[in-house]
Amino acid sequence: MGLRYLLGRLLGMIPVFFAVVTAIFFLIRFAPGGPFDSERNVPPQILENLNKKYHLDEPLLMQYVHYLNDLAHGDLGPSFKHANRTVNEIIGEAFPVSLELGLISLVWALLIGITAGGLAALKPNTAFDYIPMSISILGICLPTFVIGPFLVLVFGMWLEIAPVSGWDSIGDRILPSLTLGFAFAAYISRLTRGGLMEIRSLDFVRTARAKGLPESLILVKHTLRGGLLPVVSYLGPALAGIIAGALVTETIFSIPGLGRFFIESALNRDYTVVMGTSLLYFTLIFVCNFLVDVTYTILDPRVRHE
């Protein structure tokens, strides 16, 4: 395994990427309406000029070939709605912001989630279990647009210890990342608890006890590895979702992230931005899942041999 397996995975991405490009390209163009439809009537001459400028007057297949050609050169094309801005510029500015917010949130989610879940698994059916697990149910059920304003109210308005909007100072990162990370922390804590509890009931943990190992060593050496596998496999899609799906959080805290462009572009039929953001999302998911697979082979020797 090793290098060959990883290379195979990477090569396998190429046809999938191609299929995704094709699917999104045609789907968004078959959707009713176009980028220049609006309530007020645009004079036909102007519409014609616009269509010409963006090559929308050419046959669909030609547009597709053009797009592929540009894409191969790393050019995602101009935005249809934001005049004079290219999709590369938009993503270049907004993606780093979303990435930073996402990664900080993920650190929160892992720290809080694994600690809470681990504690609950170590002392099941006690307050250490019930309290964090009840909070985690809240975290899963409450939507971001409730948690966000709640945190703003408590820490921003009443206690006045954290800024409530913007994206300039370090302090600006606190509330948005907590808001975004909370639901993920909740989910991770439940996965951690479940995973650890399951492993702790297995025969080989009994063997470890029968050998006279202390509980702390059993936890670290024998339980943690297998117990955290569910968390690891959840992290792939979670990471992609946390980076690209932060629209609500970004809106609440006025953060210039990518989430806005995701939604706006689809509503506006801003074809090139839809393509750009979707392909970014696909790449993110692919990279994250790839990292998860690599981590899996490191953690579980049985996967290595298949």
Binding site: R206, A210, L213
Partner: protein, 322 residues
């Protein structure tokens, strides 16, 4: 020979929401150095619960040791602290399990798992431990110890894994080896090899072995003495000859009758009618009453006291088995 374990009136109950489950209810026996004691009984008769609770491997609650003592090396295992128990487990008393396929950690190399008892109980360094462990692997018939140390459990067959478990149990030269149905999950030829291996190691080291099984053939083959358990109670104990040829208990008798034999062709294998009772709903009487063909009125009202002839002990109201 010296006595290594001395169990008196051992009772371990599970306290559940559905009531008290008397998993082990009044166990008495002695174990001498170098001897093999077989513990026989159907599934659910309390054999495993007894041994796991003896080593403190069952969570309390729900389990509680209600009464009794288990004298080992000048102390009582029932009242010993968790730290003391930990220093005994895998050191002076080692245990191997029924399921070799799942008893080893799939995420760790066999070597890493094998050296743990030595590092914990003997303060050996990794290198020293690996050297000792290699010897143990050779002793249990694993020809290429270097390869085995670097392998993962899933690369080994069930029989090989059980050999690894035995090697692991032996590294610290325990005084007692508890083998909880060590051959149940293995096929017959491998079973014989493992039992043979246990026997030869015992001869060499002089350790005592407690062998739990529901296979009377295994007991007849390797045990010196035998304990018959049913529904958490001790029904009969004695030498293997006492149990097989001079059994005084209808249950032992029924068990023996329902064991397939090579020397007698039978049209159908007899079995004991009915099923084992619910351990949370036991009355004051003998738990075998509903299935016993010799049941009398007093069997339903009280559990009999022991009838003893030297080492042979039987708990039945019946004067003599017809």
């Amino acid at each position: 020979m010296g006595e290594v374990l001395h169990v008196r009136d051992y009772r371990a109950y599970f306290h559940t929401r559905r009531g008290i489950v008397k998993a082990v209810d009044g166990l008495n026996f002695n174990l001498s150095a170098g001897e093999t004691l077989g513990i026989v009984g159907e599934s659910g008769s309390g054999k495993s619960v007894f041994l796991l609770s003896l080593l403190g491997l069952l969570p309390k609650p729900p389990l509680r040791i209600e009464s009794g003592s288990a004298q080992f090396g000048g102390m009582d295992l029932v009242t010993a602290s968790e730290d003391t128990m930990r220093s005994i487990r895998g050191n002076k008393i080692a245990m191997i399990f029924q399921e070799p396929m799942t008893s080893l950690n799939p995420y760790l190399k066999i070597g890493t798992q094998l050296i743990e008892p030595l590092m914990i109980h003997r303060n050996k360094t990794k290198d020293e431990a690996f050297k000792i462990v290699k010897g143990s692997l050779l002793k249990v018939g694993i020809g290429d110890p270097d390869r085995a140390l670097n392998a993962y459990p899933h690369e080994f067959s069930g029989g090989m894994r059980q050999r690894v478990m035995i090697a692991m149990a032996l590294t610290t030269h325990p005084e007692i080896l508890i083998a909880d149905e060590p051959t149940t999950a293995l096929d017959v030829t491998v079973q014989a090899q493992i039992l043979e291996l246990l026997k030869s190691i015992q001869k060499e080291t002089g350790m005592a072995v407690i062998l739990v099984t529901h296979d009377l053939g295994v007991v007849a083959g390797v045990a010196d003495r035998c304990l018959v358990m049913y529904a958490g109670k001790l029904f009969e104990q004695g030498s293997v000859d006492d149990i097989f040829y001079r059994s005084q208990h209808p249950y032992t008798h029924a068990l023996l009758k329902s064991t397939p034999r090579l020397d007698k062709a039978l049209a159908a294998l007899p079995s004991i009618a009915g099923t084992a009772p619910d351990l949370s709903k036991l009355g004051p009487g003998c738990p075998f009453d509903a299935r016993c063909e010799y049941v009398k009125e007093e069997c339903r009202n009280s559990f009999p006291t022991a009838k003893r002839t030297e080492e042979h002990e039987s708990f039945c109201h019946l004067e003599k088995l017809p």
